[in-house]
């Protein structure tokens, strides 16, 4: 009876696994007004034109990153000049960036030459090139850095 019970539970886990795919989290949603579209990660990766080394307070280490500057990304994918940009993470964490034109913001797609995944705070992460006199040990000073971005919205 115990064996049968275990078998049933295993089966109940295994069946959904067969149907499992991760493609539903393979892109980010871009929203402007009533329009929205999903941009797949391959397209985002091809746009990564910035390759630099930064100090990452959450890694507590220097890392090499690839990505695209937020300002460039917004001008390429949104119309007009939004007053601010709202970024929402997969866990619901939301940050509104009003100084999005600041060249310091980077939408990071790769860390140490490897594409970001959910496990490495991806698929897209918002970081800053220059920490600007902030103490990297005080992580509360980096609450505007967004991990696991799933949606970018232009706020008019």
């Amino acid at each position: 009876m115990k064996t049968l019970y275990r078998a049933l539970i295993s089966l109940s886990l295994f069946l959904p696994m067969l149907a499992w795919s991760t493609n539903h989290r393979d892109g980010i949603t871009l929203i402007q007004g009533t329009e929205n579209r999903v941009m797949n990660l391959e397209e985002l990766h091809t746009q990564a034109n910035v390759s630099i080394v930064i100090y990452e307070p959450f890694r507590r280490d220097q890392i090499s990153i690839q990505g695209i500057r937020l300002a460039d990304f917004v001008s390429q994918h949104f119309e007009g000049t939004p007053s601010s940009i709202e970024l929402q993470a997969h866990d619901g964490y939301t940050v509104v960036i009003s100084n999005w034109q600041d060249q310091n913001w980077i939408l990071m797609t790769h860390e140490n030459d490897r594409p970001l995944t959910l496990r490495t705070h991806g698929p897209v992460r918002l970081v800053e090139e220059d920490l600007r006199n902030r103490d990297p040990n005080i992580l509360r000073d980096f609450t505007e850095w967004v991990w696991m971005i799933q949606q970018i919205r232009a706020v008019e």
Binding site: W20, T22, R60, L118, R140
Partner: protein, 386 residues
């Protein structure tokens, strides 16, 4: 002696005024310290506290990253334990584990807590197993996730302890800061008030000194016997009126007077009676003058009367009134042909040809001489001049 006293008095007033501004500066400085400290507390210290412990707005930020990891692990387990488990629920459970992995995969935890790396490895392997066709039962998932939850919980607890320690440290710092704030601002405020009191006392002393100096200066220009202005005051006022006239002001008139047969009066009645007569003469002349006109004791029994903004035509009746008033005093003077004390006067008015005040004075004096030689007890003005 007069000049030395005047210089001393002026120096003393300057010294008092310097001290006055010092007290005001010190009071301002003290209140400035209070204001600066308040600004420091509000602008720098409290924001520093807020940065560490204040509400950040988003509840996600307010929670620790590790807390979120632990919660996602527990959520994932709860979801996978649902029966029956459909595809959507499985995806959600898997997603919760991925989020848990992400929030555990933080440099701070990897650096400080030994259990982090093995936990990440175990969680990573579990996620790989869940997507592979190999069968994984719930018990095996629970067996894998439990140590990870324990690791997350221990990190969470330690982080809370650190946070509490920091909070205590900050509370002590706050307490110290408040004590300093109260002490420094209390002292600075009291000193400010004290300096203001000193300032007020000094201000009163300075005012008294100024009043005393003004009174002393007035006395220095007054004739002690008659109460009229003295020769020094006359010289100053004559120059002042002449300068004003030369700058386009109205003419002024000068009446130079001399008591007739006054030496004989003194000789006969003595100097005390002579002084009394002089006082009476000055008093009665003053009564005949207009506001602004001024009597001076020029010397001995000579008097000068300055009539500002007065032409000869207007000055003449004033001079006549003065002569008459003195005669009407009826002070007996046996040496005089009229047997009474009388006054002679010469009246001159400033003119365009005058270059100094002395020119007017000399003309008035010359006219007075003419009266003296032609019978006394009268006034001669420039229209009667020979």
């Amino acid at each position: 002696m007069g000049m030395d006293d005047s210089t001393d008095q002026g120096g003393r007033v300057n010294l008092l005024q310097n001290r006055l501004s010092w007290w005001l500066w010190l009071a301002t400085l003290s209140f400035g310290v209070v204001a600066a400290w308040v600004v420091y507390e509000v602008r720098w210290f409290y924001p520093d506290l807020q940065r560490h412990f204040g509400p950040v707005g988003d509840p996600q930020v307010g929670r620790q990253i590790i807390t979120r990891s632990r919660e996602y692990l527990q959520n994932g387990l709860t979801i996978l334990a649902s029966e029956p488990l459909d595809k959507e629920q499985f995806e959600d459970g898997y997603f919760q584990f991925e989020l848990a992995y992400s929030f555990l995969n933080v440099g701070l935890y990897l650096e400080r807590y030994d259990c982090t790396e093995p936990s990440l490895n175990q969680l990573g392997q579990l996620l790989d197993r869940l997507t592979s066709p190999t069968t994984t039962d719930l018990a095996s998932v629970v067996r894998t996730v439990n140590p990870v939850i324990q690791c997350a919980t221990s990190i969470e607890q330690h982080q809370w302890e650190l946070r509490q320690t920091r909070a205590l440290h900050m509370a002590e710092r706050l307490d110290r800061s408040q004590r300093w704030f109260l002490t420094v601002t209390g002292i600075a405020y009291s000193m400010g008030v004290l300096f203001l009191v000193f300032y007020e006392l000094q201000r009163r002393r300075t005012n008294r000194s100024l009043k005393s100096q003004v009174s002393w200066m007035e006395k220095a220009l007054e004739d002690a016997l008659t109460g009229a202005q003295n020769r020094r005051a006359f010289d100053q006022d004559l120059q002042r009126h002449f300068k004003r006239f030369k700058k386009g002001g109205d003419s002024f008139s000068l009446l130079m007077c001399d008591l007739d047969y006054f030496k004989a009066y003194n000789d006969q009645f003595g100097h005390t009676r002579g002084d009394e007569a002089l006082q009476q003469v000055v008093e009665v002349i003053t009564q005949t003058l207009r506001p602004g006109d001024q009597v001076y004791r020029y010397g001995g029994e000579e008097l000068a009367i300055l009539l500002p903004n007065t032409r000869q035509k207007e000055a003449r009746p004033i001079a006549d009134r003065a002569i008459t008033a003195v005669r009407r005093l009826d002070i007996g003077n046996p040496a005089s042909p009229l047997k009474t004390l009388t006054l002679s006067a010469g009246l001159a008015t400033s003119g365009d040809n005058d270059t100094t005040g002395e020119d007017v004075l000399n003309r008035a004096d010359s006219l007075l001489y003419q009266v003296k030689v032609s019978g006394k007890d009268a006034v001669i003005d420039e229209s009667q001049s020979e």
